[in-house]
Point group: C2
Chain length 155, copies 2
């Protein structure tokens, strides 16, 4: 029960009720930094808590993201992914195996956009391609990115 203090504290600090389900989901996201989908969170947690409802998973993820405790990633396009880390960083997704890798960089353009009059709440930097492991199995192939980008990428 000591291990849960961290999540209880976060919930209380955000004025959210403390429930076992919320603690479980936060703990899962904290300890499984693979940017899981709601389905994966649900099916994994369901093993130890068979009464868990999928709606609870969705409700909880929604509540946590509204309080900026977690971050929603739209990188996949077919399902949302969830990230316990909310400080700005980029992601790379392998289109072969679906893995999502963290990339720690700071985006220099954030401030630039503020001057345009819009309010910026989120920043997402996504790269997609084929990861090193998948490349070794199938060969490197060709990079379909257009010209300007390839120049930048030769660095």
């Amino acid at each position: 029960m000591e291990k849960y203090e961290k999540y209880i504290e976060i919930l209380k600090k955000n004025g959210m009720k403390v429930t076992p389900q919320r603690i479980d989901i936060m703990k899962y996201l904290d300890e499984h930094r693979i940017h899981p989908s709601a389905e994966k969170i649900y099916s994994d947690l369901k093993e130890d808590n068979p009464s868990l409802s999928k709606t609870t998973v969705y409700n909880t993820l929604e509540a946590l993201s509204e309080h900026h405790i977690i971050q929603i990633l739209t990188i996949s396009g077919s399902e949302l992914r969830y990230d316990f880390k909310t400080t700005p960083h980029h992601h790379f997704m392998c289109k072969k195996c679906g893995a999502i890798i963290d990339i720690d960089v700071d985006c220099p353009y954030l401030g630039k956009f503020m001057g345009m009059g819009h309010r910026i709440d989120e920043m997402h930097g996504y790269f997609k391609g084929v990861c090193k492991d998948c490349l070794e199995k199938e060969g490197r192939g060709e990079n379909p990115l257009k010209t300007e980008m390839n120049i930048v990428s030769e660095v």
Copy 2:
């Protein structure tokens, strides 16, 4: 009818069969740079071509993106958006009205990440927040939470 030459040329160059539906969809995307959803493309084109099938829209968008003639945006999270422009650029999405605005910047991190051995095919820079127009309405207390996606401005 001269206007279609551009799209016929692109299709032929990519070894794709030329069909009226494909021309219509490419023309629509080219002339409506609001990053529309499949549903919007379908319902708008359906007016002049009532026999158009939604499956054709999805099939065509899939084929066009496989040939890198168009780009798929995952920015929304609830639906895919399509962009006729395939050269790298960023996007800003207003969470109030759903508008997606182009932002022309080069990402300086692509090269850095390619050094790690992965193959990078796509780059997506997404910013999210509330656009200038919605902020002004919000200030006057006139912004209902549920708004229809309105037309997007371009930068």
